[in-house]
């Protein structure tokens, strides 16, 4: 369905290109079409030092983004798939220059070639990683940064100024702890030109989750408790309904753990119990302390950098208790604990299909502005065709209902609300998911569930006491169900 829509919008853009009156308009149209065809753009955003680059590395499974204890990401950076690795600077005036880079310590170091960070709009990294094939990741400098200019660059990347279509289709918002300035920032993202407020394209990530529980062994459980509270907080729920606790560092380490690191963990775990607890008391002791366990301080410091205090404590405990016996097993356990698998699932489910709809929405917004400005010949006719496309697109309607529902504008009883959220694709677009069935539900089960749901929503639609907004939403629901039944 979404493919049809994208095709039709693409065709309209092509027609407009033929009648475009200026070179700029052609460029703009090309950009829109390119965006439509390209992979979904996922921005990773959040406060300074929230662990954005670490999470990005964990998602790619390679240490591309530089990470550091200080504040280190100063320029908005795009990571996309390319068979040939390259690094390119895009300045504010649109000029692009390819820059040489070195890969030191795993992270990419790009030579900015004397350009100050202020002059750079963003940097594009092309990398032959299979995980980048379906997604473009945008790494942003944190907000609340000491340098006001860094914060300004982030806001520019996240929200559209002057009617520009925003760079990102969806956003992973890294929360460390909610407070006023975090929520304000989410709002600024939602205030952009694509859609006025989109709780449909943001996923909250409770990052550095291990620190919430002071790196104790139960830290991730504590983090899950915090995430649960966030999800149930109405104000936050309206901005990003899904919050997942993630320990990015651990996730990255799990993807890239080396045998020598595993050996170090094992060596520590074999030490006497007293000695282990003494060593793991603080980060300083682990990284610098004298210890009879057969691992030199340097190696221990390296391990701490890679896994974090929580990661080391957990790994040692897992090895010591015999829960894991090989490095592969350890990696699997670490990946599971890190919450990264869970996050990946959520992103795939939520954004994979919806991303195309969202991209189409971005394109429509961009085209509408272009046409209204009259840069493409007969603006009115083009606008008319655009309206035809959007009016007939049930995908847009679904996203709109979902948006209304999640932002609390649509009043509907709580059971129906959850049901409607699922139907509109809130947890994934597979028919089973939409109907709230298990992933392995048979075609027959799906069919009978759909028929039952159809009756319910038709009832809601025709009920005399339903408000007009509810009726419209119910109509969308019945149409979705009809689509499911048709196949």
């Amino acid at each position: 369905m979404a493919e049809d829509l994208i095709e039709r919008i693409g065709a309209l853009a092509d027609d407009a290109r033929r009648t475009a009156v200026s070179a700029e308009a052609v460029d703009a149209l090309d950009a829109i079409v390119g965006r439509l065809d390209g992979p979904v753009r996922l921005a990773i955003s959040g406060k300074v030092k929230a662990g954005k680059s670490t999470l990005l590395n964990a998602i790619i499974g390679e240490g591309l983004a530089p990470t550091d204890a200080g504040e280190c990401t100063r320029v908005v950076t795009w990571y996309s798939f390319s068979p040939r690795p390259y690094a390119e600077l895009v300045l504010h005036d649109g000029t692009r220059t390819e820059r040489p880079y070195v890969r030191g310590e795993g992270a990419l170091e790009v030579d900015l070639g004397g350009h100050s960070a202020d002059a750079i709009d963003h940097m594009e990294i092309g990398w032959p990683s299979s995980r980048l094939e379906s997604v473009v990741l945008i790494d942003t400098p944190g907000i609340d940064s000491i340098s006001a200019e860094v914060s300004a660059r982030t806001h520019r990347a996240m929200s559209a100024e002057g009617g520009r279509v925003p760079d990102a289709d969806a956003v992973l918002y890294l929360l460390r702890h909610t407070h006023s300035s975090d929520i304000r920032f989410l709002e600024s993202f939602h205030d952009d030109a694509v859609a006025e407020g989109t709780p449909v394209n943001a996923v909250g990530v409770l990052s550095r989750a291990d620190e919430i529980g002071s790196a104790r062994l139960d830290a991730m459980t504590v983090a899950e408790r915090v995430a649960r509270r966030y999800r149930s907080e109405p104000r936050l729920h309206r901005l990003c309904p899904v919050v997942v606790p993630v320990n990015g560092l651990l996730g990255y380490a799990a993807a890239t753990l080396r045998e020598d690191e595993y050996a170090a963990v094992v060596a520590i775990a074999r030490g006497p119990k007293e000695e282990i607890s003494n060593l793991l008391l603080t980060a300083d002791r682990l990284a610098r302390g004298e210890s009879p366990v057969g691992v030199p301080a340097e190696a221990r410091a390296g391990l701490l950098d890679r896994l974090g205090l929580f990661g080391v404590r957990l790994s040692v405990e897992l090895v010591r208790s015999g829960a894991v016996a090989t490095s592969t097993e350890l990696c699997a356990r670490l990946a599971e604990t890190s919450g990264l698998d869970h996050l990946r699932g959520v992103v795939l489910r939520q954004f994979d299909t919806r991303a195309r709809v969202l991209k189409a929405r971005s394109a429509v917004t961009g085209l509408r502005e272009l046409f209204q400005r009259g840069d493409c010949g007969d603006g009115d006719a083009l606008l008319h065709r655009l309206e035809q496309i959007t009016a007939g697109a049930h995908e847009f309607e679904e996203v709109r209902v979902l948006l209304e529902l999640r932002s609390g504008e649509l009043s509907i009883n709580a059971d129906r609300e959850a049901e409607l959220d699922l139907l509109m694709g809130g947890s994934g677009h597979a028919p089973g998911r939409r109907l709230g069935l298990a992933d392995d539900a048979s075609a027959e089960e799906i069919r009978s569930a759909a028929i039952a749901a159809l009756a319910t929503w038709q009832g809601v639609e025709q009920h005399p006491l339903s408000s007009r907004a509810t009726q419209i939403a119910a109509r969308a629901a019945t149409r979705t169900i009809e689509g499911l039944l048709v196949g």
Binding site: V48, A69, E71, E211, G213, V222, R235, T282, A283
Partner: protein, 725 residues
């Protein structure tokens, strides 16, 4: 030289900060023992250390080296903070003494300088006043003594959410007084102070009445009460006070754990700022997971402007390998911001464990923090010492008058008629000083009236701007979408306006008390003193000069001023708590939510928009109205209290001056009738008395001189004391 621990008598290496045996903070020990030895040379007994909680009250159990554990149980051997909310008894014996880092020692005050003993001077002058049957003066000195006993020094712990403020307070005391949780945040300020028995008091105010109720709680229940958003029953809780018997707190140190500030523009941020005026010190808490952020630095800069004795504490260094780099970066940020603060990295986790293993103290970094707190207490004490010195100065001046007059008559019998005449005039003037028609009374009454009017006008002007802005905001958008944000914005603005208004009141009240003091001094100086000076001048050629000719640094005016302020002293935080009440007691959500029900939000029709806007405007106006009403009432009550206090204070001074001139007149006329032999004996007596007075004043002057009066009393806290209570 080994430092002997005053708590357990264990000898510690020189330079150690905590007792290696019992974990007692040794700087206090040093102060106590040194003070004891110096005052032993004096004549007083039982005054081992002046500014310790009034030594003549039985407030010092466990002081004489008895182990001060209330119960004998050792904290459970878990990672959790010790359960027992008492001074954690420590049984582990560690052979190696605590090795203190050299730099930490350098930052510490010399223990001897920490506590100047002005109690000796107070007692001596009280003794003299008693001899002269001047009940008014002994009463005055008793009042000062009592205040010195109650003296406290509050250090506020301020910072963003979840930086470990409550844990830091717990770790300092090594007891679990502040509830901590990985998720829940502290919602109300918690004041931890010294108390003989463990006590938890919750101060709440009930909407629609002035009553502040104080409930006693069990410590276990505290967590449920202070948590942000917790159900607090009918009343609106605005602060919690925990009294603990702890060595660190015995010298008047109070720790104020504040809710996370959430940025400079949040309500809590503003209120925490307001409370800083009354604080002796500020500990800004950040953690080692990241460098200072822009909002933190902004907040810190503003906060330091209000409370210059500040330190930046970086917590959680046990969790982060690269904390040294974070600390260095933070130093850089502070330097760029032009802030000269100590940066203290600490691990609360280790400090809590140090309750069982004192050897961990060195690793926890708390030595430097305790050193900073000791310094804050020392400086506050020094400031108060100067105020007390001025009070003693006032009393001795009054006493000197009487003996001076007598000495003049004895030395120059031929001039006695003229002297008596002048003394009569001085007495007359002193009398008019205490009359209701005295000019200082006029200044005070007029000033308070003006101030009340100005405060109300100022608040009205500020709130009107807020109201206009909020109406614009409401008109621009649909309250259906923006009401929550508008509410939050409105609340912040009102808090900001309230704090600014309260600042103005405090500043102006301060100025007024200065003006009254100046007028009083002018009247008494121009009238009484000139007459007496003429008398005293004739003593210039005598061997022992008049004690009254010594003048305090800061002059006589300084004497009256500081004395007035000390007497107007009220328990800290009184004013800022009043502000907390006013702004927090009226939650706009409750007030506004009632008006704009969910139903109205749900109405979709476009027609409803203007209706909603109207509702929102009314709600905002009503909220502001309510705030203005409460604030004005608070301000007026506070100023009336100030007026009464200032009037009583100066009235009593006028009374003392009048009594002095009266006594001088009597003594002089009695002396003029003595026979020559009796004169000789009397003159010798008087010389001795004058010498004693001179000694006291010398002593007091020495105590006060290192700190000039202007710098001694922290700015703001004076008026705080004048206005609050």
């Amino acid at each position: 030289m080994a430092i002997r621990c005053s708590n357990c008598d264990h000898p510690n290496d020189e330079g150690a900060l905590f007792c290696a045996n019992c974990n007692h903070y040794l700087a206090w020990s040093g102060a106590e023992s040194t003070q004891a030895s110096t005052s032993a040379a004096g004549e007083t007994d039982g005054v081992p250390e002046a500014p310790a909680t009034a030594t003549d009250t039985p407030a010092e159990p466990g002081y004489d080296g008895e182990p001060s554990s209330i119960d004998g149980t050792s904290p459970a051997a878990t990672d959790a903070p010790p359960e027992a909310p008492v001074e954690a008894p420590v049984e582990a014996h560690v052979e190696a003494p605590v090795a203190a880092p050299v730099e930490a020692v350098a930052d510490l005050p010399a223990p001897q300088a920490a506590m100047p003993d002005f109690m000796t001077a107070l007692d001596a002058s009280s003794h003299l006043a008693e001899g002269k049957a001047r009940g008014d003066l002994t009463e005055r000195l008793d009042g000062v003594k009592k205040l010195v006993g109650q003296r406290s020094c509050t250090v506020a712990f301020v910072g963003e959410f979840k930086r470990g403020k409550s844990t830091l307070v717990n770790a300092l005391l090594q007891t679990a007084v502040c509830p901590v949780d990985a998720d829940i945040v502290t919602g109300v300020p918690t004041l931890v102070r010294y108390g003989e028995t463990l006590q938890v008091l919750a101060h709440a105010r009930h909407p629609g009445s002035d009553d502040v109720t104080t409930d006693s709680l069990r410590l276990e229940d505290l967590a449920g009460v202070v948590a942000d958003g917790a159900d607090r029953g009918a009343g609106e809780l605005f602060s919690v006070e925990v009294q603990v018997r702890h060595r660190l707190l015995r010298h008047g140190l109070c720790l104020l754990d504040t809710p996370g500030v959430g940025g400079l523009d949040s309500v809590h941020g503003q209120l925490s700022l307001a409370s800083l005026n009354a604080a002796g010190g500020l500990v800004f808490v950040t953690d080692a997971s990241q460098e200072l952020t822009a909002p933190e630095l902004d907040y810190l800069t503003t906060a330091v402007g209000r409370c210059p004795r500040a330190a930046l504490v970086v917590t959680k260094v046990d969790l982060h390998q690269h904390w040294r780099r974070i600390v260095e970066t933070n130093r850089g940020h502070l330097q760029n911001a032009g802030l000269d603060l100590p940066v203290i990295p600490v691990s609360s986790f280790l400090r809590l464990r140090a309750a069982r293993q004192p050897a961990l103290n060195a690793e926890s970094g708390f030595e430097q923090l305790v050193g900073f707190l000791a310094d804050v207490v020392r400086r506050t004490t020094a400031g108060e010492a100067s105020a007390v010195a001025h009070e003693v100065d006032f009393v001795t001046t009054q006493l000197a008058r009487q003996s001076d007059a007598e000495r003049v008559v004895l030395a120059r019998p031929e001039a006695s008629a003229a002297v008596l005449d002048r003394l009569g005039q001085a007495h007359q003037r002193a009398h008019s000083l205490s009359a209701p028609s005295a000019a200082w009374q006029q200044v005070l009454n007029d000033g308070i009236q003006d101030l009340v009017a100005d405060a109300e006008y100022d608040l009205a002007a500020r709130l009107r701007t807020v109201l206009r802005d909020v109406k614009d905001i409401i008109d621009e958008s649909d309250p259906k979408d923006t009401w929550e944000d508008t509410q939050a914005w409105l609340r912040r603005q009102v808090a900001e306006a309230s704090v600014a208004n309260r600042d103005l009141v405090v500043r102006r009240a301060n100025q007024l008390s200065d003006a009254v003091a100046e007028q009083f001094d002018f009247e008494s100086g121009a009238g009484v003193e000139l007459e007496l000076e003429a008398v005293s001048r004739t003593l210039a050629d005598l061997e022992i000069p008049s004690a009254a000719t010594f003048s305090m640094p800061g002059g006589r005016l300084g004497s009256v001023l500081s004395g007035g302020r000390l007497a107007a002293y009220v328990p800290l935080m009184a004013l800022s708590l009043a502000l907390h009440t006013t702004v927090l007691i009226i939650p706009p959500a409750a007030l506004l939510g009632a008006l704009l029900g969910r139903l109205i939000f749900r109405m979709e029709s476009k027609k409803q928009r203007s209706y909603r806007q109207g509702q929102a405007r009314t709600a905002a106006a009503k909220f502001i109205d309510e705030i203005a009403f409460e604030m004005n009432k608070d301000a007026r009550d506070g100023l009336r209290r100030t007026q009464r206090r200032l009037r009583d204070e100066f009235q009593s001074r006028a009374g003392s001056i009048q009594a002095s001139t009266g006594a001088a007149l009597d003594a002089a006329s009695r002396a003029s009738r003595l026979d020559p032999a009796a004169r000789q004996a009397r003159a010798a007596e008087l010389d001795e008395e004058t010498r004693q007075l001179g000694d006291i004043r010398d002593h007091v002057r020495a105590l006060a001189s290192p700190v000039t009066p202007a710098a001694a009393v922290p700015v703001g806290s004076r008026a705080e004391r004048a206005t609050g209570g």
